[in-house]
């Protein structure tokens, strides 16, 4: 390994020395944190960011160290998967209790609100996102929130670029309907 190893070198080294994976955390935590907090808000976002790295550690042998040197798209893909699971679970709860329109978002202290409220997507959008299919939430969050290209999303999720396009197209149609008629919001 060179003086400044690439992510793929670190991940390969972590197969036999898991401590090496801590450097992946140091490099990418802030970016993953920003992604998860924007997607699910300041209450659960930090937890999902932390969970992303624990999960990444567990499945690090799936990362293709031959093909990619930067682990960020792969980590974003894991985070997107957790975000999708979380949002869909929340949307199920909303629907189950039949109080979609009156659900209060968690309250936070003023300092936390000032810090992150403006940086997270609005609760209604979050619920709409949670109403999409799991695979649609993943591509929408990576495309719209994180600004990844089709190609980068394909890498992040390990799917074909054409699949990214078709999922985004389906998601657009469904979101257009959901945002026009919020009563339809709920996981499929």
């Amino acid at each position: 390994m060179t003086g400044h190893p690439t992510d793929s070198e670190l991940i390969a080294a972590s197969w036999t020395d898991p401590q090496q994976f801590a450097q992946i955390f140091q490099r990418h935590f802030s970016a993953i944190y920003a992604f998860t907090v924007r997607a699910v808000g300041p209450s659960q976002g930090p937890d999902l960011a932390a969970e992303t790295f624990v999960r990444a550690l567990a499945i690090r042998r799936r990362f293709d160290t031959e093909m990619y040197s930067n682990a960020r798209p792969w980590l974003l893909g894991i985070a997107a998967n957790l975000i999708a699971g979380h949002l869909r679970s929340r949307a199920r709860e909303y629907r189950a209790v039949g109080r979609l329109s009156s659900v209060a978002e968690p309250a936070f202290d003023e300092e936390a609100v000032n810090r992150v409220q403006a940086e997270s997507i609005a609760p209604a959008l979050r619920r709409a996102l949670g109403s999409l299919r799991q695979e649609e939430v993943e591509v929408v969050s990576l495309f719209a929130l994180e600004g990844l290209s089709y190609k980068e999303i394909a890498v992040a999720l390990g799917i074909a670029e054409g699949t990214v396009r078709s999922r985004l197209s389906r998601a657009r149609t469904r979101l257009r309907n959901l945002l026009a008629d919020p009563g339809e919001i709920g996981p499929t």
Binding site: S30, Q44, P46, A50, L57, D109, L125
Partner: protein, 327 residues
């Protein structure tokens, strides 16, 4: 939105990306390091089982290079894994027919009432109400007896104390009284659920279970709460108790070792900064659960670092008697 708008535009972020605080960064890092420790511990266990031994020369080189400490699991987490091993070897509690598991706990919880209850102008008033709770539980007969004695409350201001007494709320809270309830046909949903006994599968099951609730606290905090709930009941099998403790080590809580006990804690906002603490014996028995408010609640006049709930338990015993205390 018009039909021409791209709905995905609504999700595009504005402003600077949110940045983790130092505490959030440290807590997330602690979770990852705990998972790394656990993997290394398991890897070492597997290596030992396979008869693999680190050559003495390699160990010497590692020490010489100062790597030894890095290769060791965090001592506090290693201690928790040691508790998990002790719990696995513990003798399961035997509940003979016609007997009950008796447990006694001293508890304090925060009561919040409308100010109008005490003829005060404030919207809400808070105080701490201590209780002694005794439970006799027969899983076989699905019978439970709960005996609760309410003790004198404590207040955050003399004015509230006076208003409480003037409004006659001691009677309302049953201060000084003991209430005994007997319930039959009781089922414990936590016992009814089939919990995996392999730590990774158990963690997934626990995370899934807590994600179904309306609880707004972070999942790791809810998992700690659930772990305490599961450990609280004496009739969990040693293998499940051990797996719960492994999950607690895996999740990565702050761990403090004390004389004969080990405490785990997690901080969260709800909405004020709060810390949940769970203290265990060296054999994995649940001894104390505490919730500490780390920031002042000015509206309720609660100072920072106030313990707003506490449950301190004595080790459970089996008894044939429903009298208190059991002979």
């Amino acid at each position: 939105m018009t039909g021409q708008d791209d709905p995905l535009d609504s999700f595009k972020p504005s402003g600077a990306p949110p940045q983790p605080s130092e505490v959030e960064f440290r807590e997330a890092e602690a979770q990852l390091l705990a998972a790394i420790d656990l993997e290394m511990t398991r890897s070492k266990r597997r290596s030992r089982a396979a008869g693999w031994r680190l050559p003495a020369i390699a160990a010497t080189v590692a020490v010489a290079l100062g790597l030894f400490a890095v290769l060791q699991p965090d001592p506090a987490r290693a201690a928790l894994l040691e508790v998990a091993r002790a719990a696995r070897l513990a003798t399961p509690i035997d509940i003979p027919s016609g007997s009950y598991v008796y447990s006694r706990s001293e508890n304090v919880h925060l009561v919040v009432r409308p100010g109008s209850d005490m003829n005060l102008n404030s919207e809400s008033v808070a105080y701490l109400l201590p209780t002694i709770r005794e439970v006799w539980w027969s899983p076989a007969e699905r019978f439970i007896q709960i005996r609760t004695t309410v003790q004198r409350p404590t207040f955050f201001s003399p004015g509230t104390a006076a208003a409480y007494r003037a409004a006659g709320l001691e009677r309302d809270d049953g201060v000084g009284e003991t209430d005994t309830q007997q319930l039959t046909g009781v089922t414990d949903p936590l016992s009814e659920a089939e919990w995996p006994t392999e730590a990774r599968a158990l963690r997934s099951a626990m995370e899934e279970a807590v994600s179904m609730s309306d609880d707004q606290r972070p999942i790791r905090v809810r998992v700690l709460d659930l772990a305490a709930d599961l450990l609280r009941d004496a009739d969990r099998t040693p293998i499940l108790r051990s797996a719960i403790l492994e999950v607690m080590a895996d999740v990565g809580y702050d761990i403090v070792e004390d004389d004969g006990t080990i405490s785990l804690s997690a901080r969260f906002r709800n909405p004020l900064l709060t810390r949940l603490e769970v203290t265990l014996s060296r054999t994995g028995l649940l001894l104390v659960e505490r919730t500490v408010l780390l920031e002042p609640d000015t509206a309720l006049q609660i100072p920072a670092n106030t313990v707003i709930s506490r449950s301190e338990r004595e080790p459970p015993v089996t008894t044939r008697s429903l009298s208190s205390p059991p002979p």
